[in-house]
Point group: C2
Chain length 146, copies 2
């Protein structure tokens, strides 16, 4: 029927190297087009579709981790180890939570479902300092001139 997996040789091209380097430098968890914006400064001719393709390739390669947060854009993480995140409900920013993942959770929950459990995701939701500040400013200006 179907052939055995073709095992193509992945190449560490300039584009891929730069994407990886810039992702490492950013402490945030950028979306594809945030990566595009910074990478463009070093490789002005790179295309957005290359960024998408390379990020996907690097994920399969195990050099980058895709974060599926909330419901909107894909975010990418240079740190491929298991860890948790906080997400801002307003602006979508994502940051790390410095805490060890609860490995026992999956064991503990295994009997509650007939799914074959392969992992879990824990996400804190909140308002980031910047969005909080903006919110307070707006509130203040409303009080001043109602």
């Amino acid at each position: 029927m179907s052939d055995p997996p073709p095992k193509r040789r992945l190449r560490m091209t300039r584009q891929r190297r730069v994407i990886l380097e810039e992702l490492k430098k950013l402490k945030a968890h950028p979306t594809a087009d945030e990566v595009y914006e910074v990478v463009r400064e070093r490789l002005p001719r790179i295309s957005l579709s290359t960024v998408y393709r390379d990020l996907e390739t690097l994920c399969e390669w195990g050099k980058v981790r895709l974060l599926e947060v909330g419901c909107a854009k894909k975010h990418f993480d240079y740190d491929t180890r298991d860890h948790y995140h906080v997400r801002c409900a307003r602006c979508g920013r994502v940051e790390n939570l410095p805490v060890e993942p609860f490995t026992y959770l999956e064991q503990a929950f295994r009997d509650l479902t007939d799914y074959e459990v392969t992992g879990h995701k824990l996400e804190l939701i909140g308002i980031c300092p910047e969005c909080k500040r903006k919110e307070e400013e707006e509130k203040k200006s409303k009080e001043e001139a109602p």
Copy 2:
């Protein structure tokens, strides 16, 4: 500057009632267009944009809960109480986890971030029985004719 909130009166229209009833009947956590498909059988002239708009309105109204699972489509839940879910990594199906949410988690994590924490989300990831079955069938057919 901006006017005070206009406080419009929401109406429980036929469309909204049917959407709510069908959502209640479905045990799953359907996406907007899965809702559209079933509602269409009772209201053949309803439009997809009405389904989207009404689901959003019902969420604001507190009668429906929007689930932001994984990264793709929006799923909707008739049960607005806090609870956890399992998601199939293959097909995206979402089911409830019969367990009380860990309310202490948010307290415990509060010091780990400068975000103002407002909630959390815990999601088990796995393979649903149906996808597991398919996977095994494929494996078998490969072994038979390699």
